[in-house]
């Protein structure tokens, strides 16, 4: 899109992934994955994020521009440890999940459900 003259900005929460991809402009909200624009029903926060994205579209002078917003999910940072947690109590469940995933992939291929 950028090479065709369309200016882009990504609003996201997985900064390492976005940076690795070489994203031209990033508005970064350090929030749980799922709500990159802001906390659910927090219209003020969401409006601030949109404003930051519009501003970065025009302020960025070169690719790789990042605007980090100060928004926080809550006073507690407990959510960070919970995401994709691997614990003694869920190891068996995770392996079962992987097995199901591999079985489904094989089934998809057998049924011709794949993109060329």
């Amino acid at each position: 899109m950028e090479s065709k003259g369309i200016a882009t900005v990504v609003i996201g929460s997985a900064l390492d992934i976005l940076q690795r991809a070489g994203t031209p402009r990033i508005v970064f909200n350090d929030l749980p994955l799922g709500n990159p624009v802001g906390i659910p029903f927090d219209r003020a926060m969401q409006n601030q994020t949109l404003a930051a994205a519009l501003e970065l579209l025009y302020q960025a002078q070169s690719p790789g521009a990042i605007q980090t917003l100060p928004h926080r999910w809550s006073a507690s940072d407990d959510w960070r440890a919970n995401f994709m947690a691997i614990t003694p109590s869920n190891r068996a469940a995770l392996l079962a999940l992987g097995d199901e995933n591999r079985r489904q992939r094989q089934l998809n291929r057998a049924q011709g459900l794949f993109r060329p």
């Binding site: 065709k4 992934i17 990159p36 029903f41 519009l54 690719p63 392996l95």
Partner: protein
């Protein structure tokens, strides 16, 4: 800040996958400054949230839809977000159309493009790079889009 690449590697290893996912890496980034001032620019949204969950995930491809057909709730069940901590019941948290409409109504932004764009979260970088992204770029050109906000879930 969470290191998501490291965390997903560990998570899928724990599921018994022996090959790590290779996240896209680009060392050169195309870059365009906006062609028009904001108050006369045309803007669109690009989302990974699913409009047609009846299409099986392995064969979903990029697709563009009129903004008037944006669902009140996109399907996000198959996407990898933090389902322990939060929810996606508020569409504005990943598809801020109301907020955008308000800025357009206020005269801050020129106009909304006729269509928004769905791009699937794909295991294959090739599909994204060679098929999905060019299609969306083409549709944006057809719609005379100046600015795009991409919001991955």
């Amino acid at each position: 800040m969470i290191r998501y690449i490291e965390r997903t590697k560990a998570y899928y290893r724990a599921q018994g996958f022996d090959r790590d996912y290779q996240w896209a890496m680009n060392t050169e980034t195309p870059f365009s400054k906006p062609a028009k001032p904001l108050e006369s620019a045309r803007i669109t949204l690009v989302t990974t949230a699913v409009v047609e969950p009846n299409i099986p995930k392995p064969i979903r491809t990029a697709k563009s839809y009129p903004f008037s057909e944006a669902p009140a709730q996109f399907d996000t069940a198959e996407l990898s977000w933090d389902k322990v901590t939060t929810h996606t019941d508020d569409r504005e948290t990943y598809f801020p159309l109301q907020a955008l409409d308000a800025r357009i109504a206020a005269g801050d932004i020129g106009s909304l493009a006729p269509r928004f764009h769905f791009i699937p979260t794909e295991y294959s970088q090739r599909h994204t790079r060679d098929q999905d992204a060019p299609l969306i770029a083409q549709h944006c050109l057809e719609d005379a889009v100046d600015l795009a906000i991409l919001i991955p879930l």
